[in-house]
Amino acid sequence: MTKDTMQIVREQDVVPFRNRVRELATKIGMSLVNQTKLITAASELVRNMLKYASGGKITLEVISKTGQSGIRLTFADNGPGIENIPQAMQDGFSTGRSLGLGLPGAKRLVNEFDIKSVVGQGTTVTVTHWKNGR
């Protein structure tokens, strides 16, 4: 199946990345609402990567499980890492004087969400969203 990577180094990389996700989602016939949820979650995660880790690498995959296709996005950076993940996943927690909505909001928007982080090494967030949103 399709597997793609994109390097994210600056703000201008965000829109082309979102467009690429849109293309893949359209290709597998994902509904508009589900596309919008996935891309919005992706947008939050790519912003975090730029803001806290000055960029990173995103892997885009079309995957399938019994009878259903979906999209998996992996955001990997070599930034400072996250010390306390449960805290970072709380609504309203931010070290960037922001809303603290990105991580918890992204988690709510997609079907599967996984975050791993090692302080001093980096953070990897993986999200999966199925074609019919379930």
Binding site: E11, L32, V33, K37, I39, T40
Partner: protein, 138 residues
């Protein structure tokens, strides 16, 4: 650098966002709008986002900033034309557009602004048969 045009329509400013904004464009729109409100003494800002496919927390914050800065200068902000998929997504993301009014389309947004700013529409003005000049600064 690109810029998003701001139109003056009577006492209000109208912005139509036609592309998915990248951050610098969004920030310059925020700046331009706030400058325009202060320069023109506009009483309302209407932002048409019917062509916008994605509103993330960054974009939401910009809209919120425009609204709160405008309010300090006595102008209300109405966002119109939000796509249903965007509205659904915003709720799940957990983003509330603080201080931002919303309306279905430009026309309804205008009505809302007239309402909020205690101004009379042209129609109402004509009915009352007043022929005062365009002076909204009291």
């Amino acid at each position: 650098m690109d810029r998003i045009p701001i139109l003056k329509m009577g006492p209000f400013l109208l912005v139509t966002i036609q592309v998915d904004l990248y951050d610098r464009l969004a920030l310059s729109l925020e700046n331009d709008l706030i400058n325009m409100v202060s320069k023109t003494g506009a009483r309302g800002v209407l932002i048409d986002i019917s062509a916008v496919n994605i509103v993330d927390s960054f974009m939401g914050r910009i809209l919120g900033n425009i609204a709160s800065m405008s309010r300090i200068m006595d102008a209300e902000t109405v966002v119109v034309g939000m796509q249903p998929a965007v509205a659904i997504t915003l709720v799940e993301l957990g983003l509330t557009l603080q201080g931002v009014h919303t309306a279905l389309n430009v026309e309804k947004g205008m009505d809302l602004l007239y309402d909020k700013s205690d101004l009379l529409t042209d129609e109402q003005n004509n009915q009352e048969d007043t022929e005062e000049p365009d002076d909204y600064n009291d």
